[in-house]
């Protein structure tokens, strides 16, 4: 891959030299940039921790393969839909969204990277060469991504509409990719102009979380939304808003070519698709780009020289975590575990990246059940929703054990904690109150809406059951202090045996509840019993001894 890129660059050597760019340095920078890309994971898979170094070699190709498969799934619309206009529009939309999202998430860290500045600035390289290297790097990256996504759709178009259409499609794919690059670039320029670096990093982090959520839930929702009959009967008519959405331009051009339509709308599409990218380049090259690179330099410079002001917390107000810990915890160690968990989960972006996407799994589940309800299915269906959440919810608890700063938890071993279980139970309580209650509050709202107040008792019981479920899980799993494990170990964290056992337990609890749902008084009795058990298990958990923790440290 990088050999091909470097070969093409070698051919263009003269062009670069005429632009006063030092070609040998440009080549050296791109060579290592491409090498490092190969060793980096795309953001879409970032929440899956890497297992070992040996695997990273193939990660790049695995990612490319994944993109190709997903692109093929979307591309299959080309066969499923009778008209080329909508089918290719959807494919182009997918390519553009994927490209923009990846640029924002995956590439932001690269563009904003101050390591580059620290390493390159003492070397005899001029900024024009560095700038060009960055631009080429972005374009190469995007084209690889785009073509891995577009590979199968290209083949499909070729099979269905012939070689001419295939070639046009390839050109339009490249155009879409460049369009996405320019749009993202413009977005960055605007953001950088109007916000600070710290703010920008925050925005990017939230976009990343959002992206992963969309990624996870999108693949579950979309296929359920689209029905085959819908695809067959879609209108070919061009509606005004389609002029505002770039993928339609590309789709329009395909339609014009394949079906020999040459009416006004298609000419407008073609004009838009060709002139707008040029317009954006012009805009970037004029006023904006100068201030952009200056700002970027300033940013780099400042971060290298000034100490960051950092985010300060207002100590005069007692934070929520401390007010809650006063209510829910008694033992000082338990308070410590509670507050530490609460605060770090609020601030650690990596934790959010790992955890919030699981909420994305919940959304389609709710969605599917609610559609069932509209069709007038069983009244008790919502009970199943409540239990379908169990596994997603469990992720909150397992994820608090992991942190990139796991080494910072050396202090657990140095404090005279007795029994250390209080730290664990404090952390567990924080998970209950911070994550599980809000999720249930949301579910309660949804269930009230559809099923009314009668469902209340069932929701409370399900909440307690889920807490019980997590307590059991915590008690039988290896005991680990919060944030004390390296993320790479996350996958080995719970053994398959425990996972299977827990799946059985949760199913059993779920069915027991389902059976009990016929007897309203029974529900209330069950709430009392389960609530008591949770309370007792939390006590039990807080009495975890050092020897139990050490035993699990060894394995």
């Amino acid at each position: 891959m990088s050999k091909i890129v470097l070969f093409i660059l070698d051919l263009l050597k003269g062009v670069f030299q005429s632009l006063h760019i030092d070609y040998s340095q440009l080549r050296a920078i791109l060579e290592i940039k491409l090498l490092m890309d190969k060793r980096r994971k795309p953001a879409a898979f970032a929440n899956q921790p890497s297992k070992s170094d040996a695997n990273t070699k193939y990660q790049y190709w695995i990612a490319i393969f994944m993109y190709a498969i997903l692109g093929g799934l979307v591309g299959s619309l080309i066969f499923a839909m009778p008209n080329v206009y909508w089918a290719t529009t959807i494919v182009f939309a997918y390519i553009m969204v994927m490209t923009i999202m990846t640029l924002i998430t995956d590439f932001a860290s690269v563009v904003m990277d101050t390591t580059d500045y620290a390493i390159l600035s003492p070397r005899p390289v001029d900024s024009r060469t560095v700038w060009m290297a960055r631009l080429i790097h972005v374009v190469v990256y995007v084209l690889t991504l785009t073509f891995s996504v577009a590979l199968l759709p290209i083949v499909f178009v070729g099979i269905k509409y012939g070689l001419g259409a295939l070639l046009l499609f390839v050109v339009l794919v490249i155009l879409s990719a460049l369009f996405a690059v320019f749009l993202t670039n413009l977005l960055y320029m605007l953001l950088i102009r109007f916000t600070s670096e710290a703010r920008l990093k925050q925005i990017i982090a939230y976009v990343q979380i959002g992206f992963t959520m969309v990624f996870v839930s999108g693949y579950q929702i979309l296929p359920r939304l689209i029905k085959v009959e819908m695809l067959q009967s879609i209108s070919l008519e061009v509606v005004w808003w389609q002029y505002l959405v770039p993928p339609f331009w590309m789709g329009g051009i395909m339609e014009a070519f394949v079906s020999r339509h040459f009416e006004t709308p298609y000419i407008i599409f073609t004009l838009l698709a060709v002139t707008l990218p040029v317009g954006i380049i012009y805009l970037m090259n004029s006023a904006v780009s100068k201030s952009f690179s200056r700002k970027l330099l300033e940013m780099n410079d400042a971060s290298g020289d000034k100490n960051e002001t950092g985010t300060t917390e207002d100590r005069s107000k007692k934070p929520l975590s401390e007010r809650l810990s006063a209510i829910f915890t008694r033992h000082p160690l338990e308070k410590m575990g509670f507050e530490l968990t609460w605060k770090i989960t609020s601030r650690d972006q990596k934790f959010k990246m790992r955890t919030y996407p699981t909420l994305g799994v919940m959304i389609p589940t709710i969605f599917v059940f609610l559609r069932g309800q509209q069709l007038g299915q069983s009244d008790w269906q919502y009970i199943l929703i409540l239990y379908a959440m169990s596994f997603a919810i469990n992720a909150f608890y397992t994820n608090i054990q992991f942190s990139d700063d796991y080494k910072a938890t050396w202090f657990y071993g140095s404090v005279p904690a007795d029994p250390p279980g209080y730290i664990l139970s404090g952390a567990l309580k924080a998970v209950f109150i911070k994550f599980i209650l809000p999720v249930y509050a949301f579910l309660i709202a949804a269930i009230f809406w559809f099923w009314g107040v009668d469902a209340l008792a069932n929701v409370i019981l399900a909440l307690f059951n889920n807490m019980l479920f997590i307590c059991i899980f915590a008690l039988i799993s290896p005991k680990r202090f919060p944030f004390s494990q390296a993320p790479a170990e996350a996958q080995q964290a719970s053994s398959i045996g425990i996972a299977l056992l827990m799946m059985m337990v949760s199913t059993m609890i779920g069915f027991a509840h389902y059976g009990l749902a016929r007897f309203p008084t029974g529900i209330w009795i069950a709430i009392a019993i389960v609530g008591g058990t949770v309370f007792y298990f939390l006590r039990l958990y807080s009495q975890t001894t050092w020897s139990q923790i050490r035993a699990s440290v060894i394995d």
């Binding site: 040998s24 340095q25 080549r27 050296a28 920078i29 060579e31 290592i32 090498l35 490092m36 060793r39 980096r40 170094d53 390591t115 620290a118 390493i119 390159l120 600035s121 003492p122 070397r123 005899p124 390289v125 001029d126 410079d301 400042a302 290298g304 020289d305 000034k306 100490n307």
Partner: protein, 258 residues
């Protein structure tokens, strides 16, 4: 060999939101080791960044080997080596890959880069790690790679920012020995540090920077003479104005009891 001053700084000032460097003046002749001291935030790193052509928006004049750093930063960077304090490297590369990259930026030949890198890594006992990615390297190992990367192109002026941090005792002795030999070769070393006793024994000339100004400049013997004190540590605290160590320590103990 160059006998003219290799570094000439006159009326150098630089400010971000507030002034960092305030009218700095000095000249340095080749073959010297300059110990550049100062409390945190005094402007040491900023000085080095200006002298090495990394920051060009300052006021005053700075000449490196007769070249104006503002007009000719690239040419200046060709002749200097910079070993930064922040141990930033491209972690996912191996030392050999990283050094090759640095060598290519300095337009060295591939074969020569490889030979030199291997030799230097071997001398630093890193040959076994030459082809291991640096992700899991310790601070000391990174520091060794940074030292090699800064010196690979055999620069005439070398800027060092805490170059011994993270190194074990044997490596510290080796590095100090190497730096002394480089000075004998006629190279100029600009050494910024907090470790007083290293600077005391090792620098030909000591400059102390405080609040953006140079408040002391001379050999260790001269400074001893002027301040009438024995150790560099005493001279440093004397000059940078912190005389309250005794009472601060007392207050600290008092606060612990409370």
């Amino acid at each position: 060999m160059y006998t003219e001053p290799v570094i000439t700084v006159s009326h150098l000032s630089k400010s971000y939101e507030k002034p960092v460097l305030n009218d700095i003046n000095f000249t340095i002749t080749p073959g010297q080791i300059i110990g550049y001291l100062g409390p945190n935030g005094a402007g040491k790193s900023t000085t080095i960044k200006v002298l090495s052509g990394m920051i060009t928006d300052f006021t005053g004049e700075v000449q490196i080997m007769g070249m104006d750093v503002r007009k000719d930063p690239i040419e200046v960077k060709r002749r200097i080596g910079y070993i930064p304090e922040n141990a930033l490297l491209y972690d996912t590369l191996t030392p050999m890959e990283y050094l090759r990259f640095i060598g290519l930026l300095h337009k060295m030949e591939s074969a020569r880069i490889e030979k030199k890198s291997l030799d230097l890594l071997r001398i630093f006992d890193l040959q076994a790690k030459a082809d291991t990615r640096m992700t899991a390297f310790s601070k000391g190992m990174r520091q060794k790679v940074l030292l090699i990367a800064g010196l690979l192109h055999n620069p005439d002026i070398i800027f060092l920012d805490e170059p011994l941090s993270g190194l074990d005792a044997n490596a510290v002795i080796l590095v100090k020995e190497i730096l002394s030999k480089l000075a004998l070769e006629g190279k100029t070393l600009f050494y910024s540090s907090h470790i007083m006793d290293v600077v005391e024994k090792f620098a030909h000339r000591i400059m102390i920077l405080h609040q953006g100004k140079i408040i002391a400049d001379g050999t260790f013997a001269e400074l001893q003479e002027r301040e009438k004190t024995e150790s560099l540590e005493q001279i440093f605290t004397e000059l940078t104005g912190n005389h309250a160590h005794q009472s601060q320590a007392g207050e600290f103990i008092e606060a612990l009891r409370g």
